[in-house]
């Protein structure tokens, strides 16, 4: 895969945009391209991006789209923080993340580009298609602002192409602002020579409820954008189609979680709104009733968790979806779930922390809190999906684990997965996914509600309605009969049994596969959660240049599968790449005695006594494959010179 990708790269040689400008309309082949469309919110850049992404996916490119959402609800127009839009990465190899710098930028106004610009999100010299209405705007202030930014882009070497979007759209519709996005889709489809039929179909589908009077103008806008680009632009890129071999489902991580809840046959989702988790519950609210499920919005996260536990105790499968601050509030009840062995699935869509932190941004900072957060010994399962597809299947697995082992399962996703959208093979529905119907059969007399298996700690739970099963569940230390008891030995037996369940579950885990060379090498990058795609892409690039680097991605963080120690020991150097905080040894005050490590690094060090280093940050941004690649090259260069 990576090879194909890179041969193509060589074929295209230097920067596609530049070549394009040279060879006129002769299309430039490249294995991937990243387009960013930016506008004021409400101008429809989001729709444009979505549609272009869908069309590309349907044609057979691999696609990853990310929404760009302003922090404010109605930010001021023409402002940097107000930038709203979409990033679309299309490729001829499986795309697993948002990638590096953008290859092509479309701006509805110049200000919307400032943020991305200063954050270095645009590839040097890349073409920028910029709405030019502002140059002749009534307000001199705006005219000046536009000119200034325009000139700055040019002076910085970008290829700014001014486009009369407003002017062109006005020919078709009254309110050009509402139409520009279709015009932009038209331009892009010309530049990337997309199949117009598919676009027409999409437009019809999108506006089917609104009818022809809306469909027609949109098609016209699209066509005019397409035509305008054909006539006026010498940009033509050919991103070879990977080919769509099987049906796919295109969704973001939160949608995938919601679909997973359905597929798992759950009955109840109890939640309290919190960014970036809420959209999962929004979608669930729409679809859950169709299968007899219900979404309960509680008065707070504590009540949501208590409600879910109550439902689960009564034999219904329950999930509670939240983010960091919400999980913090559930801490006490998480302990009860473990102590009383009430199955529960808790999804934490991680955001920037600590405290309220960065509500809309990504972080992987809740791993240790998930594992160690509850006072006393509360062994639970903690797992982290690495892809959007994983988000879907994890819900099915999590439910099964929770009910089989009568315990709490925490699923850690993050804002990166929640807002990223990509396709994955359409799942084949199987009966096993669903929860078994609630058991109301009589309990054989003499059976205990906590008949802990001496070896595995496992036991069958009693569900209200089951004759002879009457017992009182309690968070106090209790005997196998479920009776409160303070005698020495009782608490030890209970704690041991609950811990043994984790050990028993651990035995069922498969050792994760090394990406790269299982026999070892100079460097092993270990990751978890949403960084998988970026890490493996970076590793591929380095390996292609012969660097002895591999990566390992861990899905089950607590407990961890066997065989990991052996893998770590095969490499000269091991480090984690994570989106959370860790001290840097470059800091004057920091040394081995006080350095605070990234979450996973901490776990690996404690369990395997291997000197695991870490490279992490809390910028609230997904880590670019390019940054990881750079870090790896430096590190290996250094070690080389060292050794």
């Amino acid at each position: 895969m990576s090879n194909e990708r890179n041969t193509i790269k060589e074929a295209t040689g230097s920067d596609p945009a530049v070549r394009a400008s040279r060879n006129g309309s002769q299309p430039v082949r490249c294995s991937e391209h990243i387009i960013e469309i930016l506008s004021d919110s409400g101008e429809g850049a989001q729709t444009a991006g979505q549609m272009f992404g869908t069309v590309s996916a349907k044609m057979g490119n691999s696609v990853w789209t990310v929404e760009i959402i302003p922090a404010e609800i109605e930010p001021p127009a023409r402002s940097a923080p107000g930038a709203s839009g979409n990033r679309i990465r299309i490729g001829s190899f499986p795309i697993t993340n948002a990638g590096d710098e953008a290859d092509l930028v479309v701006g509805f106004n110049e200000q919307a580009l400032m943020g991305g610009m200063s954050a270095g999100k645009f590839k040097p010299g890349c073409p920028i298609l910029l709405e030019n209405m502002w140059r002749t705007h009534a307000d001199p202030g705006i005219r000046k602002a536009y000119a200034d930014v325009h000139d700055r882009f040019v002076s910085e070497g970008y290829r700014v192409i001014e486009v009369p979007m407003e002017e062109q759209c006005k020919k078709i519709v009254e309110n050009a602002q509402r139409g520009k996005n279709m015009f932009v889709v038209g331009m892009l489809c010309a530049i990337y020579s997309r199949d117009r039929e598919i676009v027409y179909a999409e437009i019809k589908q999108k506006f089917r409820k609104k009818g022809d009077k809306v469909i027609q103008p949109n098609i016209q806008l699209f066509d005019s954008g397409y035509a305008w680009a054909e006539e006026n632009l010498d940009l033509h890129f050919d991103v070879p189609l990977l080919g769509l071999t099987e049906p796919q489902v295109v969704a973001n991580g939160n949608t995938a979680v919601a679909l997973g809840v359905l597929a798992a046959g759950m009955d109840v989702c109890a939640m309290y709104p919190i960014t970036p988790a809420t959209s999962a519950s929004h979608y669930l609210s729409e679809i859950f009733e169709s299968v007899g499920g219900m979404v309960h919005q509680a008065e707070d996260e504590i009540a949501a968790c208590a409600f879910a536990l109550g439902a689960s105790y009564a034999g219904k499968c329950a999930v509670t979806i939240t983010s960091g601050p919400g999980m913090a509030l559930k801490t006490e009840l998480m302990g009860l779930s473990v102590m009383a062995e009430i199955p529960l699935v808790l999804v934490n869509v991680q955001r920037g922390g600590p405290s309220t932190g960065l509500p809309t941004k990504v972080e992987q900072g809740d791993l240790l809190a998930a594992i160690f957060g509850s006072p006393g010994d509360a062994p639970k399962v903690v797992m982290a999906p690495a892809t959007i597809e994983d988000c879907f299947y994890s819900m099915i697995t999590a439910r099964k684990i929770a009910e089989t082992f009568r315990t709490l399962v925490i699923v850690l996703t993050d804002a990166n997965l929640a807002t990223g959208q990509a396709g994955f093979p359409r799942p084949e529905f199987t009966r096993e996914w669903l929860a078994p119907p609630i058991d109301q059969s009589p309990i054989p007399r003499g059976t205990k509600p906590y008949a802990w298996d001496p070896q595995t700690g496992m036991s069958q739970r009693f569900i209200p309605g089951q004759p002879n099963g009457m017992f009182t569940l309690t968070g106090l230390a209790h005997t196998p009969e479920g009776r409160v008891a303070y005698a020495a030995g009782v608490n030890q037996e209970g704690c041991r049994s609950r811990s043994m369940k984790l050990a028993a579950f651990q035995k069922t885990l498969k050792t994760p596969q090394v990406h790269g060379d299982p026999d070892g090498g100079d460097l092993l990058i270990v990751g978890w959660g949403s960084t998988k795609g970026a890490i493996e892409e970076a590793v591929d690039r380095c390996r292609h240049d012969g660097l002895k680097v591999s990566s390992l991605h861990i899905k089950y963080l607590q407990p961890m599968a066997s065989g990991i120690r052996e893998i770590l020991e095969k490499f000269n150097d091991v480090m984690t790449v994570e989106i959370n905080y860790s001290d840097s040894l470059d800091d004057e005050l920091i040394n081995e005695d006080n350095r605070r490590y990234a979450n996973l690094a901490w776990l690996l060090r404690a369990r395997y006594l291997v000197n695991v280093d870490c490279w992490s940050n809390v910028h609230g941004q997904p880590i670019k494959p390019g940054s990881i690649e750079g870090m790896i090259r430096n590190r290996l260069a250094v070690t080389k010179t060292r050794g």
Binding site: K58, A251, G292, P427, Q440, T472
Partner: protein, 333 residues
Amino acid sequence: MFGLTNECVLSVEEEFHSMEDYQGRPVRWCPGCGDNGILTAVQRLCRDEQLPPEKSVFVSGIGCAARFPHYMNTYGYHGLHGRALPTAEGVKIRRPDLHVFVNMGDGDCCSIGTAHWIHSIRRNMKMVVMLHDNNVYGLTKMQASPTTPTGQKTNTTPFGAPLRALNPLTTTLGVTNASFVAQVVEWMPELLYDIIRQAFHHNGLAFIRILQRCPHFMPNNFTSLLSDPKNVLLLRHKNGMQVSDAMARLYPTHEEHDPSNLHRAREIAEDENRVPVGILYRNSSIPRYEDMHKPHRVPTWEQNKAALESLFDKHGIFPDGGGAQKGNGNGSR
């Protein structure tokens, strides 16, 4: 019922249940503790209504009162301090076949549990909620509770509780959708039983504040009530609490109060000179949260599959370049 018949038919208990059948672990409350009387009244209710023990669930938080479930031979959930109500809501939401009871102390309900108290009143799910109000934190050995009388010395208020006691009746009556609000004292078993019985038959959340003696920590609490019956205000009405003539003679202060009169109920609750005993408010027409979320059907495996496939279609793309519109109705593939 509510499409859950498949679950309900499973329970086929025919034999008659005596009081003893509802007795759980040996009771460990202090001698003379008012909780004992409440337990008896509830066990009597279970017997008289012949509740299948396996279909009855007692949910509580933490406290002396919250030990209640252990003393019942039914299903019980002795959860976390303050969290009994949202737990009970979760138990009930998809199990209309279960009889749900909630037992909380005044700290459990009116202090740490306040938010849940207010919001469960609003959701009005069918359950019997008993507030064992002994005006103190018993289990943790005598700290002030929200209902502790002003001036009462406790371990956290050695110079006397500074605040006026919170009035759980006016508070509950102030909450939208309150549908059954009653007060009774645990030492009048006849009335206690009648209120609990009517609460059980109410089709929504029935909130009962039960004044409960704690001889261990509050030996002199309620003495004015116990010594001088005149301080008790019996609320009588054909739609309200049933009072025997004997009782009526014992407690001379009465009021003919129609439980449908919310405004008067609030006035009665506000009056601090006389302690009302009876049903202050009842409104059977307030919808229940569980009904609003009643599942249209318990889907079969096929229906589940169909639903999921059509969602996959909506988000689906297909090799032939077709999209959702093509996918539509292709749930079968």
